[in-house]
Every structure is written in structure tokens, then in C-alpha cells.
């Protein structure tokens, strides 16, 4: 695989990763995102409804937390997880955890890391971890790592140091086992940068990991709420400065549009797309504008709409959501609100997704009020498409040197 940069603008990298996949002929654009899945399937979506979405990412994210417990089944299946889940053509990246469900801390040891599946905890030593990867055969996988230094509020230097030491040890052992495995020759190990909030440890982690023959880097421990990310952004710049230019940088747990832009400016290439899923789960639809090319009057009109919604959002910010414990953002509208009951407009005017081309806000409102399963299906289709459109606009903005305008537009919509 080969990463070629077209240009670098104010720290933002625009380019392509080529020669990907088992046959070596797939390409990914950066900056970009990965398709979020749960147990190997996009949430709510079957192959048919998934394929309705325009701009689908070339690579999907699988989580070991949802797949580790199916290890035996996949071992007997033999043909790899891609085929098993019905996505044989897709590039696959296997992360350790699910970015949406927080993992209970305190289960990392010097010898093992645990993930949490439906059936409970699955403890993995390096050899078990690699045995599972042999059976999954993903294109990329996050190396076994210790991500708990970033779990607590204030990490001690000692804990941060341990996270780096353990992760490097795991990495070296995994690389050694990969060498011995014929099956895993085609899979790429993604090295994990740890170190909590301790600058010294983050730099050490970056420099040491970069010495190893990994295919790319995962910047772990930057997830959390918007305030925690803000304080960690300076760490992020320092870390990416230490990493080679020709290997992709992923960040875990960051998916909000404003945070995505902050990270791209600090040298990150790839993101998870769980944010549209969280929006779906709270019965909301992404409506934020990323069309900075619109004429000024139109932008003002859309912005005014958003301003009014911001007032409602302030009141609604207390609302807890099912399963995701996230507050509603100003990037979305809440279709459960009574005002949408007779709104026969699409979710977003001009959106080319299946939901907006076929259905109205009133219909989605009805589906949510009556607790019908179709609500999740239609919202997921819209939210993914809207989100992938956002990434497309980032790439276009970088091409035309207009990222500042896009950034300003996004920030105007953050309340």
C-alpha cells in the first residue's frame, strides 16, 4: 500500500492511499472516514439499504469487541470475516473497541487486554489476539494496546508510561507473530500511540512506534467530550509531527464535524463514522451545512434557521439519549418534536439520499412517535450520506484552498 500526498495545507493532508486490499487495487481518499459497523453490519442496514447510500467509504470499521466471541465460528468458516459478514469487496479495519460503548476500565494487564462482547468479557493475550486476527483476516487491524491511561481524569505519569511500555511490547510481539503467519502477510498492523495526557510519554510512544514496520498509526486516547479534546489538541499536533508522512494516521473516538476539522488541521487522515449513528439513535437527523459555496443570501437563510434551532437545542441539551449518553448537538434536528408533525419537506432540501428523495419529515416524525423500526433505517441512511458528503466537501475545500471558509461555516453552526 502507498500513501501519496497531493498537497499539505496548514497541516491538513490531502491525498490517496493506493494499492489497498487483498488484490492490491483499491484506493482510499484522505482525509476520509471509515464505515461504522456493529457486529459486522452497518447499524440498521441490510446490503440493499446500505447500497442506497452515495459516497460510501471504501473501508469499513469492524470492532473486535463485537467479533472476538465469534472466533471459533470464524475459524471453522476459514474464509475471513469480510465474506462472513457479506462484505467481500470492502476494505476492512478491525479496531479493538467500539467507540460508542465505553469499555469498563481496569482490565489491561502486562499480558492481556480485554474486550467486551454480548456474552461478556473476552480476555486476549498477544497469541490469542493474533489467532483471532488470523481468522478474521482484515486488511488493517489495530494492534493490541493499553488505552486506559486516557480513561481517568488525571493520569499519573506512571500510568501513562505503562501504557506506552505495554503497547510497545504488545506491538513487538504481534509483529513477530505476524512474521510467522502466512495468512497475516496480507494484513497490515496499525501501531497505536498511547501515553495519556503526558507530553513526554506521547512523544516517546510516537517515536518508538514509528521505528517499527507498522502500516499506519492509531492515535488513541483522544476520545471524550468536546472539552477534553480541546485540551488534548496540542498533544495531537506534537504527536503527528513525530510520525512519518507516508503512513496514514487514524484517530479513535473523534467523529463530530468540528472535532474532525480540528484533527485534520493537526495531521490526522482517517476517522470513525459513529457520530451519524449516535444522531440516529436519538431520533435526530444531521442538517448542518457544509456547502460553503452557496451564495451569501442562501447561507444566511440556512444559518438563520439554524440560529432558531440553537435556542431549542439549548433547552434540549439536558436530554439523555438511549444507549449513547450523548447530548444533541446543533448539527442536527430532533424529528420527535411536534413541529415536524406536518412538515412535508425532506430532512434536508437538496439532499440526494434515499430518505430525502422519498420521504418527508412528517413521515419520519410519525415513525418515531409510533416506535417503528423503519425510523432507524431511514435516519441512518440520511445521516451516513450527509456525513460522507461532509468529508467530500473537506477534500474539495482542500483542493481549492478554501478550507478556512468551510471551517468558518461549521463553527458558525456550533452553539
Amino acid at each position: 500500500m502507498k500513501l501519496s500526498l497531493t498537497k499539505v495545507v496548514n497541516g491538513c493532508r490531502l491525498g490517496k492511499i493506493k494499492n489497498l486490499g487483498k488484490t492490491g487495487d483499491c484506493t482510499m481518499d484522505i482525509p476520509g472516514c471509515l464505515l461504522y459497523t456493529k457486529t459486522g453490519s452497518a447499524p440498521h442496514l441490510t446490503h440493499q439499504t446500505l447500497c442506497n447510500i452515495h459516497g460510501l467509504p471504501a473501508m469499513a470499521q469492524l470492532t473486535l469487541s463485537s467479533l472476538a466471541e465469534h472466533h471459533e465460528v470464524l475459524a471453522e468458516y476459514k474464509e475471513g470475516v469480510g465474506k462472513f459478514i457479506g462484505m467481500p469487496e470492502s476494505l476492512l479495519y478491525c479496531s479493538l473497541h467500539d467507540p460508542v460503548s465505553p469499555c469498563p476500565a481496569g482490565y489491561v494487564t502486562n499480558k492481556s487486554v480485554s474486550v467486551w462482547g454480548v456474552g461478556g468479557r473476552v480476555e486476549m493475550t498477544v497469541s490469542k489476539f493474533m489467532a483471532i486476527q488470523q481468522v478474521l483476516q482484515p486488511d488493517w487491524f489495530q494492534c493490541l494496546s493499553d488505552g486506559e491511561a486516557s480513561c481517568e481524569e488525571a493520569t499519573s505519569i506512571k500510568r501513562a508510561r505503562k501504557s506506552v511500555d505495554r503497547s510497545l511490547l504488545f506491538l513487538d510481539n504481534c509483529l513477530r507473530l505476524q512474521e510467522e503467519s502466512e495468512v497475516l502477510q496480507k494484513s497490515v498492523i496499525i501501531g497505536v500511540i498511547e501515553g495519556g495526557d503526558v507530553m513526554e510519554e506521547r512523544l516517546r510512544s510516537a517515536r518508538e512506534t514509528a521505528k517499527r514496520p507498522v502500516g499506519g498509526f492509531l492515535l488513541d486516547g483522544f476520545q471524550g467530550n468536546p472539552t477534553t479534546l480541546e485540551t488534548r489538541l496540542h498533544l495531537l499536533s506534537s504527536v503527528t509531527a513525530e510520525l512519518p508522512e507516508d503512513k496514514p494516521r487514524l484517530v479513535s473516538g473523534v467523529s463530530r464535524p468540528d472535532e474532525v476539522l480540528e484533527c485534520i488541521e493537526r495531521g490526522v487522515d482517517l476517522f470513525e463514522s459513529f457520530f451519524p449513528y449516535q444522531v440516529t439513535e436519538r431520533g435526530c437527523a444531521l442538517t448542518f451545512s457544509f456547502d460553503y459555496q452557496l451564495n451569501p443570501e442562501e447561507t444566511l437563510l440556512q444559518q438563520n434557521g439554524t440560529q432558531e434551532e440553537i435556542k431549542c437545542v439549548d433547552q434540549l441539551k439536558k436530554i439523555k439519549t438511549t444507549g449513547c449518553n450523548q447530548e444533541m448537538t446543533s448539527f442536527e434536528i430532533n424529528l420527535k418534536e411536534k413541529k415536524y408533525q406536518e412538515d412535508f419537506n425532506p430532512l434536508v432540501r437538496g439532499c440526494s439520499c434515499y430518505c430525502c428523495k422519498n420521504h418527508t419529515r412528517a413521515y419520519i416524525h410519525h415513525l418515531l412517535v409510533t416506535n417503528e423500526l423503519l425510523a432507524g433505517v431511514l435516519l441512518m441512511m440520511h445521516n451516513f450520506e450527509h456525513y460522507f458528503g461532509f468529508f467530500h466537501s473537506i477534500r474539495e475545500a482542500l483542493k481549492s484552498d478554501t478550507l478556512a471558509q468551510l471551517k468558518e461555516l461549521i463553527h458558525r453552526q456550533v452553539s
Binding site: L45, Q48, Y354, N358, Y363, V377
Partner: protein, 402 residues
């Protein structure tokens, strides 16, 4: 469709065109001509109670070959209400379904929600489970709502009594249903766009049923439904009432047997002369992880499917069977990803529609009795092992299973 002219018995539009009839049994193959396109019969109509087919999109339902499905007047009348649906260009516009819709009148909810309802000559008084509000569903109101919904086939409001009830209430309900049919006919504002079907009642009493048949067939409606069955009655009583009804219903109008959807029941009731069926079973059982197959069903959540790498049914052409194994569906069913339910809903609807297609083809190709034997053989291991009631029902129309 030609506009209905009043009074004359021959003036109701003939919406059913018969294409073939079984020379032994009463099975028929035909085509319904409805405002939103033709529908081949016999037909199974999936149930999409609240303007949605339970997690599958209109596009997916269309791709499976479905050309008619159900909506429910009681539910839609409460949420979102007829005024809103009218603003949305009818139920077709609201849910964006390009093909046909049949709406039930709300009558069945009298039985299913019996603790929340009270029946008088005026209509059914319901207490809403959502906000405690009381609504009166009269024949006029039901037709009014259905007119607003704009469905292609609308059902009369009938006085529905559970099939396990005996005594004078059954007779009262039967006669009231006739009076309510007349009120529905009088109230119906768009007979040229919507086909009002009568519903034969009478419970499990042959005399009452015969009376109802005699009276209702005097009315000028485009089609007849056989109601009040598919409740808790025994199958032996059930088939006799179906057979009695089809023997008295006009041949040139469709016969809709309400609430029937188990594969064996469909095959037998086609033999008895029914053309249309609806049932929540296939879509509901899908959401419990059960996949319908020619030999019965597969409870895919069970451990025995954990490493079963074949599709649900190797003969099935649905998207689920084309792409996914039982093992993957088993794993997905144990997760909280709703996609698992949708995969099974797609398959189960496909199963039902493929079954009806196969039945129809066998009637057209004059081999329906052989089809029935093969079907029973596959389902029960041997045609002679099929349930007694089914054997008797089939025998009554000239089909033997040995």
C-alpha cells in the same frame, strides 16, 4: 374503473379476472384490477399496520414483488390521523407506496383490544391506550377515515366477535354486521376509486354464516371477505366455515380470507376457493428470529445454527439468502443491530410471496393437486402425515394426499 351505478346487482365493478380454475378443487388463479395496478391472485398481503412494513423500505418491498399490502384504520386514525394523511396525499403519498393498499376497518381491534372497547349499535367506542381519550368508531367514521386514507380496497366496519364466543352475541354481531355494511355502502364517498368489501360473519355457526352469506351477497360490493375466523377456534371448525363461505360466494368476485398466513393454511384455503390473504405472522415471527422455510421454520437464534454456513433456503432468491448465511444471521441476531430483524423480514415476505407464486403457477398449469401433495410432503415428511383437518378439507374439494 367504471363508475358504479346504484342499485343494480350487476353494476359493481368486476375487479377480478379469472385466468384459470382447478378442475378438481375450488382453487382459482386470477388478476385483480385495482387503481394502483394489477395484482395476481391468489395473493398474500403483508401487514404494515402503521404505514410502514416493519423495518423494510418501500423500495425493498417493491423489489420482492409485493403489489398490495395492508394498513390499519384504527391505528392510523389515531396516529397520525386522517387529516394529516389527507394533507400528505393519502396513505400512498404519506408512506410513498406506489402500489396497492388495503385498509382494515378497525373491526378486528374490537377483539384484540377488547378491554379498551365497547360495542353498541352506533359503533365501537375505544379508549385510546396512548392518552385515554375516547373515540367512537362508527361505520360512517370508519369509511370516512378510509376515504381520507385513499386505499384501493377498504373494508366495512363489522361487529367482530371472537370465534371462541358462543350464544346470542354471535347472532347479534352477524345481523349488526349486515346493517353496518349498508351504512358503510351509504357513507362511501368514492366507490369509483376505492373498492368496499363486505365481511361475512356468523362465527362457527353454519346457519348464521349461511344467513349472512345470503344477505350480504345481495349487496352490490366488488368483493367479499370471510371474517371472524383465524382466532382461537379449532382448525376442524375453521375449514368448514371457510368452505361454506366459498360455496356461497359469487365466483366472479374476489374472496379475501382475513388473518390467515401459515403456509399450510394458505394452501388448503386456496383449494377451498379463497383468493386473498393477510397475516402478521410472517413479519412478526421474523422479528423473533424465526425464518420460514418449506419444512417449517428455523429458530436462528438457537445454537445449532452457530456454524451453519448455508443460506436460510438454498432455493430462495431473496436478498438475504443471496448474501448471508444462517451462521452470520445467528451472530447478528444476538447483537443489538436491528439489521438482523430486517434480513429476516425480507426473507419471510419473500417466502410467502414465492409460495403464492408457486401455487398460482400450478393452478395455471393444471397441476395444483400435485403441487398440494408435494407441498405437504415437504412440510410434513410425507403427504399422509399432514394434519387431519387439512386432509379432510382437501378431500372435501377432491384432493387426496395418498
Amino acid at each position: 374503473m367504471a363508475a358504479a351505478t346504484p342499485a343494480c346487482l350487476d353494476s359493481a365493478p368486476r375487479i377480478l379476472r379469472l385466468v384459470a380454475e382447478c378442475s378438481r378443487s375450488r382453487a382459482r388463479a386470477g388478476e385483480l384490477r385495482l387503481p394502483h395496478g394489477p395484482v395476481a391472485t391468489p395473493v398474500f398481503m403483508p401487514v404494515g399496520t402503521q404505514a410502514t412494513m416493519k423495518g423494510i423500505t418501500a423500495e425493498q418491498l417493491d423489489a420482492l414483488g409485493c403489489r398490495i399490502c395492508l394498513g390499519n384504520t384504527y391505528h392510523l386514525g389515531l396516529r397520525p390521523g386522517p387529516e394529516l394523511i389527507q394533507k400528505a396525499h393519502g396513505l400512498h403519498g404519506f408512506m410513498n407506496w406506489p402500489h396497492n393498499l388495503l385498509t382494515d376497518s378497525g373491526g378486528f381491534q374490537m377483539v384484540s383490544l377488547v378491554s379498551l372497547s365497547e360495542v353498541t349499535e352506533e359503533g365501537v367506542r375505544f379508549r385510546s391506550p396512548y392518552d385515554g381519550d375516547e373515540t367512537l368508531l362508527s361505520p360512517e367514521k370508519s369509511v370516512q377515515i378510509q376515504n381520507a386514507l385513499g386505499s384501493d380496497i377498504i373494508m366495512q366496519l363489522d361487529d367482530v366477535v371472537s370465534s371462541t364466543v358462543t350464544g346470542p352475541r354471535v347472532e347479534e354481531a352477524m345481523y349488526r354486521s349486515i346493517r353496518w355494511l349498508d351504512r358503510c355502502i351509504a357513507a362511501h364517498r368514492s366507490p369509483d376509486k376505492q373498492n368496499l368489501f363486505a365481511i361475512i360473519q356468523g362465527g362457527l355457526d353454519a346457519d348464521l354464516r349461511a344467513t349472512c352469506l345470503e344477505e350480504m351477497t345481495k349487496r352490490d360490493v366488488p368483493g367479499f371477505a370471510i371474517g371472524g375466523l383465524s382466532g382461537g377456534e379449532s382448525k376442524a371448525q375453521f375449514w368448514k366455515m371457510v368452505a361454506l363461505s366459498t360455496s356461497q360466494l359469487p365466483k366472479d368476485k374476489p374472496r379475501y380470507l382475513m388473518g390467515v398466513g401459515y403456509a399450510t393454511d394458505l394452501v388448503v384455503c386456496v383449494a377451498l376457493g379463497c383468493d386473498m390473504f393477510d397475516c402478521v405472522f410472517p413479519t412478526r415471527t421474523a422479528r423473533f428470529g424465526s425464518a420460514l422455510v418449506p419444512t417449517g421454520n428455523l429458530q436462528l437464534k438457537k445454537k445449532l445454527f452457530e456454524k451453519d454456513f448455508g443460506p436460510i433456503d438454498p432455493e430462495c432468491t431473496c436478498p438475504t439468502c443471496q448474501k448471508h448465511s444462517r451462521a452470520f444471521l445467528h451472530a447478528l441476531l444476538h447483537s443489538d443491530n436491528t439489521a438482523a430483524l430486517h434480513h429476516l423480514t425480507v426473507h419471510n415476505i419473500a417466502y410467502q410471496l414465492q409460495l403464492m407464486s408457486a401455487i398460482r403457477a400450478s393452478i395455471v398449469e393444471k397441476r395444483f393437486p400435485e403441487f398440494v401433495r408435494d407441498f405437504m410432503g415437504t412440510m410434513y415428511g410425507d403427504p399422509t402425515l399432514c394434519p387431519t383437518w387439512a386432509t379432510e378439507a382437501l378431500a372435501s374439494v377432491g384432493i387426496t394426499l395418498d
